[in-house]
């Protein structure tokens, strides 16, 4: 027994020496111009049994200015039958609190640059073995480039220091899932256009119109040539019943991509709201329905029905205009053209 223990200690020591030797020859994983960052003001919520999802989500939301407890988040993310929280729901829940969630690049430098920008990063770790996974959510709140370490709020630990190498092992086994929580209008450090627009579009479904506007406005500033950014802005204005501003944004999108069915459909509905059913019909006639995805095709068919109902109701013979919309449409055109140049410029 004694011998065995001594042998164990000896091999452990040998192992440590090997490991340290290994560290010395391998390059550091954490690299940052700031050297050492620790977001000490990040709240800490020690987790209860199985509740690392709600606890770590409360931590990143708190850092983003949302005061919420793990108990408050439990009904939104905890799944009793699975004794844990699923990534998809962890990603969706911040929308209830007026925040976007954005999955960052699955690379350590992306985590480090978010920390450098002052944002803690929610990660999924796997401490198990192949075929025996042990999933755990934690929040990275700091790094130390000199020591090649990461600092986490995790479980019951307020400040858990991990070597970058061990962190990567657990993160790799969790498929390198990492999330940041953004205020409307805030962009991640190195945003991917498509991924950000997707996050903003998912946010739009539950967000207040002005919050959605802020999220898409930030996208329109970052990628002025992306039609979807302008469409999102326009739809936020449409929901506020500011049809004039909505039409202007949809027209910007259409100038960027004249064949954009979504922009064309929504412009038609905006025109209809403004009492311009005939102009709306003309917009809809320009849409090539073939090749649209199902959701878009349904929207276009529905728009058509509404526009035709209005045309029938007003008994306007097709081809005879009683609307004063052509003028107002060109008015939009010239006005938004004017504003595009100012919008796409510095901002």
């Amino acid at each position: 027994m004694n011998v065995r223990r001594r042998a164990g200690v000896a091999s452990l020591a040998a192992c440590l020496v090997v490991a340290m030797g290994g560290c010395a020859t391998q390059p550091a994983l954490v690299e940052s111009p700031l050297g050492h960052v620790e977001l000490v003001d990040t709240p800490f919520h020690p987790q209860r049994r199985y509740q690392c999802g709600p606890a770590s989500l409360a931590t990143v939301l708190g850092a983003s200015g949302v005061a919420v407890t793990p108990g408050g988040l439990e009904p939104l993310v905890y799944l009793p039958g699975r004794k844990g929280s699923l990534q998809v729901e962890m990603q969706a829940a911040p929308r209830s609190y007026g925040r976007l969630s954005y999955r960052i690049e699955p690379e350590l430098p992306a985590v480090v640059s978010e920390l450098d920008a002052g944002r803690p990063v929610l990660v999924l770790h796997n401490y198990g073995l192949p075929g025996w996974p042990r999933w755990h959510y934690a929040v990275v709140i700091g790094h130390n480039a000199q020591a090649d370490q990461l600092i986490l709020r995790s479980g019951m630990e307020r400040r858990e220091v991990w070597s970058a190498r061990n962190f990567m092992r657990a993160w790799d086994n969790g498929d390198r899932w990492a999330l940041v929580v953004l205020q409307p209008g805030e962009l991640p450090k190195a945003p991917d256009k498509d991924r950000y627009l997707e996050a903003a579009a998912a946010f739009e479904n539950v967000a207040a119109p002005h919050d959605a506007w802020l999220a898409f406005d930030a996208a329109a500033r970052a990628w002025p040539a992306a039609p979807v950014a302008w469409i999102g802005r326009g739809t936020a204005k449409y929901r506020e019943r500011n049809f004039h501003a909505a039409a202007a944004d949809y027209e910007v999108a259409l100038r960027l991509e004249p064949g954009h069915a979504g922009a064309r459909n929504n412009l038609a509905m905006t025109l209809l709201e403004q009492g311009c059913a005939r102009a709306a019909r003309q917009q809809l006639d320009m849409i090539d329905v073939a090749g649209l995805n199902e959701a878009m095709r349904e929207a276009v068919i529905d728009s058509s029905r509404q526009v035709d109902a209005k045309l029938g109701l007003d008994k306007v013979p097709y081809g005879i205009s009683t609307e004063n919309c052509i003028g107002s449409s060109t008015h939009h055109e010239s006005q938004s053209q004017g504003s595009v140049s100012t919008r796409t410029a510095p901002l």
Binding site: P75, L86, Y127, W135, E198, A295, E298, S303, Q306
Partner: protein, 127 residues
């Protein structure tokens, strides 16, 4: 059991859709949500009735897994169409983060791995 449940959900939704045609296209009459225009939407083929069915299905599965009925609406509403599709496929096998594993556990696991791989042999009896 599950199929009866699915069928009753289907019948319910169908009845609702027939009585109230507006039900199928709830969001904003005619206007298309930006979600239908983002890159992932290109190959996503859920909309209208089918989307409603999928939502109803995930909703009842979440309830079956013990989610508080009062929170079901908010949980479903928060999901984008593509997230909903992911959830409906992987509700039972997607990673569910929840465990606290003490550091001692991690060390133990690492030692087991090293043992199995043959780097160390602390678990073997000395000759």
């Amino acid at each position: 059991m599950k199929s009866t449940h699915l069928r009753s959900t289907f019948v319910g939704i169908l009845a609702l859709a027939i009585v109230n045609p507006g039900f199928v296209n709830t969001a904003q009459a005619g206007i298309a949500g930006t979600e239908a225009m983002v890159s992932t939407a290109r190959d996503l083929h859920i909309a209208g009735l089918q989307g409603q069915l999928e939502r109803a299905d995930v909703r009842s599965e979440l309830a079956r897994l013990g989610v508080d009925p009062a929170a079901l609406d908010a949980r479903i509403a928060n999901l984008s169409d593509s997230e909903l599709a992911t959830l409906s496929k992987r509700l039972h096998d997607a990673p569910a983060g929840g465990n606290v594993v003490a550091v001692i556990g991690v060390v133990f696991i690492v030692l087991i791995i090293l043992e199995v791989v043959g780097v160390i042999d602390i678990f073997k009896k000395n000759p």
